[in-house]
Amino acid sequence: MIATHYTYWIIFGLMMIGLYAVMSHGNLVKKLIGLNVFQVAVFMFFISLGRVDDGSPPIITEGIDVYSHPLPHVLILTAIVVGVATTSVGVAIAIRIYEAYGTVEEDTALARDAADEGAE
C-alpha cells in the first residue's frame, strides 16, 4: 500500500505543510505561500489520479495503445487558473493592507486597530 501509493503520501505531506504554514504564520505573505503549497498539492493529487500503469502521455502517437487519462490534467488547468486568481487577489489585498497599516503582520495590524479604538 505504502509502496504503491507513495505519491499520495507525498501529496498528503505537502498538503499538511501548506495548511500548517497557513495556520502558524501571522505574516500575510507567508500565509499566501502556504495556501499555494496546499493548493498545488491538491492539483498534484488530481494529476496523479490520471496516471495509468505503463501509460504514455496522452498525445496520440503510432505504436502506443495505453495512454494516461487526460481529463484530470484539463480540470487542473482550470483549477490552476483559479489558484493564480486567488493568489493575485490575495497579494493585492496584502499590498493594500501594507499601505493602510504599514505592516503585513496580522497581529500587529490587529493591535493597531485595537489601539485606534482605545484612542477614540
Binding site: L28, F38, V42, V82, A85, T86, I93, I97, A100
Partner: protein, 512 residues
C-alpha cells in the same frame, strides 16, 4: 429562445461584468448592473414557470451531451434559490445607486459593479450547474469577487476581514475540490446525474467516504457553519452595505443549497445520512450554531456585527432542517432560506441607511433613533420580530415548519435548543429596541460627528459624509423587503410551495 434560458442565466451577468469594466462612467455601470439584475430575475421567473409542474430541464452547454459536456440542471430544487438571487440582485441594484456612491470612491464604482456582476454569476452558476467540477469553478468565481467586494469596505479593517475570508474560503474551496477529485477517482465522472448513477456500485469505498466528508467540510466553510464561521462576522460587518445585503441574504444560502444537492441527489440519503453520521454531525453543529450565534450576538456593540452573528445562528437553524433528511425538514430549511434571506436583507439594508445617516452602525449611535428616524427604525423592529419568529412575520412561518419537522422526527432536545435560540434572539433584538426607543438620544454634537468622520477618513479619505436625507431608492428597498417579510408571514403559499417542491425533488418522498 426559451430553451436557452438556463445558459442565459449565467452568461448575462458574466457579460455584464465585462461590460461594466469597458464602460467609462459609474452611472453607466449602474445602469448595466440594473439591466443584468432585472434580466436575472426575469430569467429565473421564466424558469420557475417552466419547471413548476415538476419538470426537469437539462441544458447541454455548447451542445456537448453529458456526461462529457457540462450540463446545466434546472428543477424545483434550485428555482427557489434562483428566484431569491434574482430578487436580491434587483434590490441590490436599486439600493446600490446611492449607497455605493457614498461608500465607494468614485473611480472604483465601475469595478465595484463588475465584481458585483461576477458575484451574481458565481452564485447563479453554483445554483444551476449539474456538474461537480463546474460547481467548484463557480464557487471560486463567487468567492473571489466577494473577497474583492469586501475589501472595498470604507474602513481599513475591511481589508483584514477580506484577507481572512480569502484564506479560509480558499481552504474551503480546495477541500471541495479534493472531495470532487475523490468522487471522480472512484466513478470516473463529474456529472452529478452520472455520479449518482455510478456511486451505488462503489458504496463503502473509503474514497467515497472521504469525498462526502471533504465536500461537507468545504461547503461548511462557505456556509459559515459553526465552528467554521470565523470569517463571517468581519466580512459581513466591514463590507459595503450592498455587499452585506447580497452576502447575508444569499451568499451562505447558495452553499447550503449546494450541500443539499450533493447530499440528496449526488451521494444519496443512504450514503450520507444512513451509512455516515453526517446527519447527526449536522444536527450537533447546527444546534451549537443556533446557541452560540444567538448568544454572541447579544454581546455585540455594533449593529452590523450583531446581525452577522445572528446569521451564524440562523444558518445553524437552516442546516438543522437539512440534517433531518426528511421531506418536512428539507422543506422547512428551504422555507427558512427564503424567509431569512428576506429578513436579513431588510436588516442589512436598514443598517446601510443608518450608516449614511449616522456615520456609524454602532449601537451607541442608534440611541434614541426611534424618535429621530421612526420609519427606518420601525422597519428594523418589524424585521427583528421576524428574526425572533413572532407571528405574523415570515420568521414565524419557517420556525413553525422547522419545529413541526423536529417534532415529527422526535428531536425534542433540538426543539428546545431552537426555542432557546429564539429567546436569545429576543434578547438581541430587544437590545436594539431598548437602545432605539428607550435610551435618550446621545448628544449628537457636531464635534463628535466630525472626529468620527476623521477617524474613518484616516483609512479612506473623504469617503463618508453624513447625509441629511435617506434616498428614496434605499428607503424603498428597506420597505419592500420588510413588507415582503410580513407578507410571507401572513400568506406563505408562494415560499412554502417553492420549499415543498424542492423537498419533493431532493428527498424523493411526498412532501406534506
Amino acid at each position: 429562445m426559451t430553451s436557452q434560458l438556463p445558459a442565459l442565466q449565467v452568461v448575462v451577468p458574466l457579460l455584464g461584468a465585462a461590460g461594466c469594466v469597458l464602460l467609462r462612467s459609474a452611472f453607466g455601470a449602474w445602469v448595466l448592473f440594473s439591466v443584468v439584475a432585472v434580466a436575472s430575475l426575469t430569467t429565473s421567473v421564466a424558469l420557475t414557470v417552466q419547471v413548476w409542474d415538476g419538470d426537469v430541464i437539462r441544458y447541454e452547454m455548447g451542445g456537448w451531451p453529458a456526461p462529457a459536456g457540462i450540463e446545466l440542471l434546472i428543477d424545483r430544487a434550485n428555482v427557489a434559490v434562483l428566484l431569491l438571487l434574482g430578487v436580491i440582485a434587483v434590490i441590490a441594484a436599486g439600493y446600490g445607486r446611492h449607497s455605493i456612491e457614498v461608500e465607494v470612491p468614485t473611480r472604483r464604482i465601475r469595478m465595484f459593479y463588475a465584481a458585483l456582476c461576477l458575484l451574481l454569476t458565481g452564485l447563479l452558476g453554483i445554483t444551476v450547474t449539474g456538474d461537480a467540477f463546474n460547481l467548484f469553478v463557480f464557487l471560486e468565481i463567487s468567492s473571489l469577487s466577494s473577497y474583492a467586494l469586501i475589501a472595498l469596505g470604507r474602513r481599513r479593517r475591511a481589508l483584514l476581514a477580506a484577507f481572512q475570508y480569502l484564506v479560509i474560503g480558499t481552504v474551503g474551496g480546495t477541500f471541495l475540490l479534493i472531495g470532487v477529485g475523490l468522487a471522480y477517482s472512484v466513478t470516473g465522472t463529474l456529472n452529478m446525474a452520472d455520479l449518482a448513477e455510478r456511486l451505488p456500485a462503489v458504496v463503502g469505498n473509503r474514497a467515497v467516504t472521504g469525498a462526502v466528508v471533504f465536500i461537507f467540510v468545504g461547503l461548511g466553510i462557505k456556509m459559515a457553519l459553526f465552528p467554521l464561521h470565523a470569517w463571517l462576522p468581519g466580512a459581513y460587518s466591514e463590507a459595503p452595505s450592498v455587499v452585506s445585503i447580497v452576502l447575508a441574504a444569499v451568499g451562505t444560502k447558495v452553499a447550503i443549497y449546494a450541500f443539499a444537492r450533493f447530499a440528496f441527489t449526488v451521494f444519496g440519503i443512504d450514503v450520507v445520512f444512513t451509512d455516515l453520521p453526517i446527519g447527526e454531525a449536522i444536527l450537533v453543529v447546527g444546534s451549537l450554531a443556533m446557541l452560540a450565534g444567538a448568544a454572541v450576538a447579544c454581546f455585540q456593540q455594533d449593529f452590523k456585527r450583531l446581525l452577522a452573528w445572528s446569521s451564524i445562528g440562523q444558518v445553524g437553524m437552516i442546516v438543522t432542517g437539512v440534517g433531518l433528511a426528511t421531506a418536512s425538514g428539507v422543506s422547512a430549511a428551504y422555507l427558512h432560506i427564503i424567509n431569512h434571506a428576506i429578513i436579513k436583507g431588510a436588516l442589512f439594508a436598514a443598517a446601510g441607511v443608518l450608516l449614511l445617516r449616522l456615520g456609524s452602525t454602532s449601537l451607541d449611535s442608534m440611541a434614541g433613533l426611534g424618535r429621530r428616524m421612526p420609519l427606518t427604525f420601525g422597519a428594523v423592529v418589524i424585521a427583528g420580530l421576524g428574526l425572533i419568529g413572532v407571528p405574523p412575520t415570515a420568521g414565524f412561518a419557517s420556525k413553525w415548519a422547522l419545529a413541526a419537522a423536529l417534532v415529527e422526527d422526535d428531536q425534542w432536545l433540538i426543539l428546545a435548543i431552537m426555542l432557546a435560540s429564539s429567546l436569545l434572539a429576543m434578547v438581541y433584538v430587544g437590545r436594539i429596541v431598548e437602545v432605539g426607543w428607550f435610551r435618550a438620544p446621545a448628544k449628537f454634537d457636531e464635534q463628535a460627528a466630525e472626529s468620527g468622520e476623521q477617524a474613518t477618513a484616516g483609512a479612506n479619505p473623504g469617503v463618508l459624509r453624513v447625509r441629511e436625507q435617506t434616498s428614496l431608492l434605499m428607503a424603498g428597498s428597506v420597505a419592500l423587503l420588510t413588507g415582503v417579510s410580513v407578507y410571507f408571514g401572513v400568506d406563505a403559499s408562494l415560499p412554502s410551495n417553492l420549499a415543498d417542491g424542492a423537498a419533493r425533488i431532493l428527498t424523493g418522498g411526498g412532501a406534506p
